[in-house]
Subunit: 214 residues, 2 copies
Amino acid sequence: MKVLVVGANGQIGQKVVKLIQESEEHSPVAMVRKNEQKESLEKEGIDAVLANLEDSVDELAKVLQGVDGVIFTAGSGGSTGADKTLLIDLDGAIKMMEASEQAGVERFVLISAIGADKRENWSEEIKSYYVAKYYADKALEQSKLNYTIIRPGALINEPGTGNVWAGTDFEYGKIPREDVARTVVASLTAEPTYRKAFNLISGDTKIDEAVKNL
Amino acid sequence: MKVLVVGANGQIGQKVVKLIQESEEHSPVAMVRKNEQKESLEKEGIDAVLANLEDSVDELAKVLQGVDGVIFTAGSGGSTGADKTLLIDLDGAIKMMEASEQAGVERFVLISAIGADKRENWSEEIKSYYVAKYYADKALEQSKLNYTIIRPGALINEPGTGNVWAGTDFEYGKIPREDVARTVVASLTAEPTYRKAFNLISGDTKIDEAVKNL
């Protein structure tokens, strides 16, 4: 599967690209905004394309030519304002869904956030961020795409353990970014994750098993 | 018709409340956030309720008991940040739609902004505001409510002329807030506006005729 990684320069995105590059099943195309990012990826032998989530749906659809699936792990990040949250996390994500439908790309894996699906779980400090996630998730569920929505708990930078808890109950907890990236890649062709959303935190089950038991 | 005006303390909202109060067909219930606003409205003989768009859908549904229609003219305003745009203009509006469905209120008139329905028309300076409007409008169109979405041009404070242009073509222009308020009230029971969105700027047609010709 040739997979476009949107947000390839982000903390999870970089790990996802690396894992796909190492896998035998799939190959990555890293979508980045800056030419220096593109060149540095290409030096490592990784396919990269220049595009911006503020581009039009038509322009984004061009980037999707020849691609079999999308991993959307872009986020405006904590340092930018809520205006970028609206433009990237909400409208950017939904434009990429529309572009995928337009380009005939069926598989779409979206990284969301734990609790995003229920208003009563939104933490007060970053409530507006959850609004964007909530409506992006909802749009994907209403789309015709073969989606998976992964909602990790609090992201930490510790090394991954390879063991997680994945499910639809609300279980608050932490998870290393590395384990999120592994779960994303393991989900790509795991049928039990198709047209499904699930929460993800550190746990006792091997990732491959966890995605098969969904 | 007993009409809940959401954003009753806003510039258009105040005019809408006054017009409904003066009308013979309808009576207003002004939804405001502060007790002093409620008391000052009640002194003028206007029904008012205290509620906040950051409340839950269940709480908002309570305010809708006995109400026949909603006019949503709330907006976080230019002085607040985009986080409030996400919470009020997007999630607040959609929560009010869900509350209306829950409370069995069918009629819902939403004030949006000209150009909000097409990404290519979004002005660069307030693009994130248009994102919120776009998805709120879309949610209303996908709801079961009997909606009208009114998308006025640039709002000015000059006295109204009573003459407008209303239609689905994109015509950029200005319009006094007073004429927007009149059009909102005229739309309430005008069948040609049901389940329809239209643009509104100053023009040559009397408001009552304009809404009948949609």
